[in-house]
Amino acid sequence: MNLLSIADLTVSFDTEAGTVRAVKGVSLTLAAGEILALCGESGSGKSVTAMSVPRLLPDGATLTGSVTLDGAELLGRPDRELRSLRGKEISVVFQEPMTSLNPSFTVGFQITEVLRRHERMSRRAARTRAVELLDLVGIPDAARRLGEYPHQLSGGLRQRVMIAIAVACDPRVLIADEPTTALDVTIQAGVLDVFRALRDRLGTAIVLITHDLGVVADIADRVAVMYAGRIVEQAGVDELFARPRHPYTRGLLDALPASARGGRLREIPGMVPPPYDDPDACPFAPRCGYADDACTAARPVLEPHGDGHLAACFHPSTVEAVDA
């Protein structure tokens, strides 16, 4: 049974330069206790897709398709109803730990606020719970930290406070947008441990937005790779690393330092196509070494390649990845 299901989701924004379609028909499912990694370059639509679930999108976003939690449709529900889900059933860890906490309020206020909102806790009970939460995310001397302001904490501690806020009400779905990007490696590992513990303890489903394939390999069960607003490849994490079908995924894997040849990081040449136009062709073709006439004549759709592996490519690679 899928906990979260996204079907044929499109998201568009009205801007001065015209309508931008950031997400163009994405379908995803997530079971309880599953960790899904959403990968892709910035602008690929991975954050917009994920933020469509709690509908934390900028003004002027138009959504079509379907987003269901436990079978209940979320799209089209009034904001008031979504508010009771946000921070409770569905919570979010944002990627900017330095700026995502409010500089004018203490850490304690910002944690207890969400407890008092959703769990109707008393001030005292919320405080006790906040200390537990800070312990849970590995912040030493938790009771003292509650009285401190964000500027008194390091980036790593701030990110853990963000996580404490996100997990405070035992969410069923946690969306983590680049939660480890700003952190150094040791802290990174600690943050991932917190996620794992949460999943094991409560069966929380986690959507991890990242372009760090090292993190993906470390923690994810399944991976969806996005490019220009669509999913181009999806598979179990071991399968994907072992047999990437889409040339774009291959490119991403090659960009991993661990598999870099000659000690240098290989980048994928070219740029993500602008979101304004959407030609009936493979959007990756201009950057793809395998592209031919077929790729510019029609857009490939996601097709199964066995073992739950999906890829949208006319020339899917069949070769095993060299040393993933």
Partner: protein, 319 residues
């Protein structure tokens, strides 16, 4: 925080000292013989000489300045040439009147300005925003004294629901006092409300696009709480800063407003003193204004520090 305030207080003292020199020299730079001026128009040469000696004007300037400072320290601000009363007593009578007007006007400005600015930012690009922005532009463009005339024209001459002018002390009759202060406070407050509205709107737009506001929304908080607690709290430093910057304008506005509504406050005293060339009063009024202005700016700094944990806690280690 201790150090921060100490530094600010030190800087303020220097400015006060320099300002006192400017005021002192300014009065001595008056065209003509100050003794003649101080004595009044129809004084005999003998009286002028007596005045010259009495005020120490036959002494060299530095000596005069030190005497002047000595007098200041003992609270002696001289004697009004108009009614021969001590200037300090006149000030003690007039300043509370202006303070009441200023406080009421500030309340009007804060209530209208902050509320309208917050709503405008939260409803950016929609009807409430256009109304508030329009009000802001018009409010900036209309001079106090004309607004005052229009208010008298409408409420006192046409509708006859409020008195056009006059003053009743708060302690004598609070109701009559308020009836007479409503129009002046509204007139004085509206212009500042416009300025405050624009600055609040701008600060709120910045705050509303901040990451921490997104976090607040992700917590499932209501729109009112996101805007009114998370965003507004971070915009308050701007509001306080603007209030501080507008203080000079408030004093200037009080001068005009008191003139129109015939309120016997500090501002009217200033204008009357200039029109009657009452130099001891002018000198005192300017000095008091400067000191008051600096003191309130210092208070603004304190409020600023209190609102911003970064500044509030910065000195915790060394003080």
């Amino acid at each position: 925080m201790g150090w921060f305030l100490l530094r600010r207080a030190g800087a303020a003292l220097i400015v006060v000292a320099l300002a006192s020199v400017v005021v002192f020299l300014g009065v001595r730079a008056l065209p003509g013989d100050p003794a003649v001026v101080l004595a009044g128009e129809n004084a005999t040469p003998k009286v002028v000489e007596a005045i010259r000696h009495q005020y120490g004007l036959d002494q060299p300037l530095p000596v005069q300045y030190v005497d002047y400072l000595k007098q200041l320290v003992t609270g002696d601000l001289g004697t009004s040439t108009q009614d021969k009363l001590p200037v300090s007593g006149i000030l003690a009578e007039r300043i509370p009147v202006t303070l009441e007007l200023a406080v009421l006007a500030m309340l009007v400005a804060i209530v209208i300005g902050v509320v309208a600015g917050t709503i405008a930012a939260a409803r950016r690009g929609r009807f409430p925003d256009y109304v508030a922005t329009g009000f802001g532009l018009v409010g900036l463009s209309v001079p106090h004294f004309w607004l005052g005339l229009l208010a008298i024209l409408l409420f006192a001459v046409k509708l006859r629901i409020l008195p056009a002018s006059g003053y009743v002390p708060l302690t004598d009759d609070p109701v009559q006092n308020l009836r007479r202060m409503i129009l002046p406070a509204l007139v004085l407050g509206t212009g500042f409300a416009a300025i405050l509205m624009r600055q609040t709107r701008s600060a709120m737009l910045g705050a509303l696009s901040a990451d921490y506001v997104r976090t607040a929304r992700a917590k499932g908080l209501s729109g009112a709480r996101v805007v009114g607690v998370h965003a507004l709290r971070n915009s308050l430093t701007t509001v306080v800063t603007v209030l501080g910057l507008q203080l000079g304008g408030l004093i200037s506005g009080a001068v005009v407003t008191e003139q129109i509504f015939v309120i016997p406050g500090f501002g009217k005293l200033t204008v009357d003193a200039v029109l009657t060339r009452n130099y001891p009063v002018i000198q005192a009024v300017v000095l008091v204004t400067v000191v008051g202005y600096i003191v309130v700016n210092l208070l603004v700094d304190v409020a600023y520090a209190a609102l911003n944990p970064r500044i509030r806690l910065a000195g915790a280690a060394d003080g």
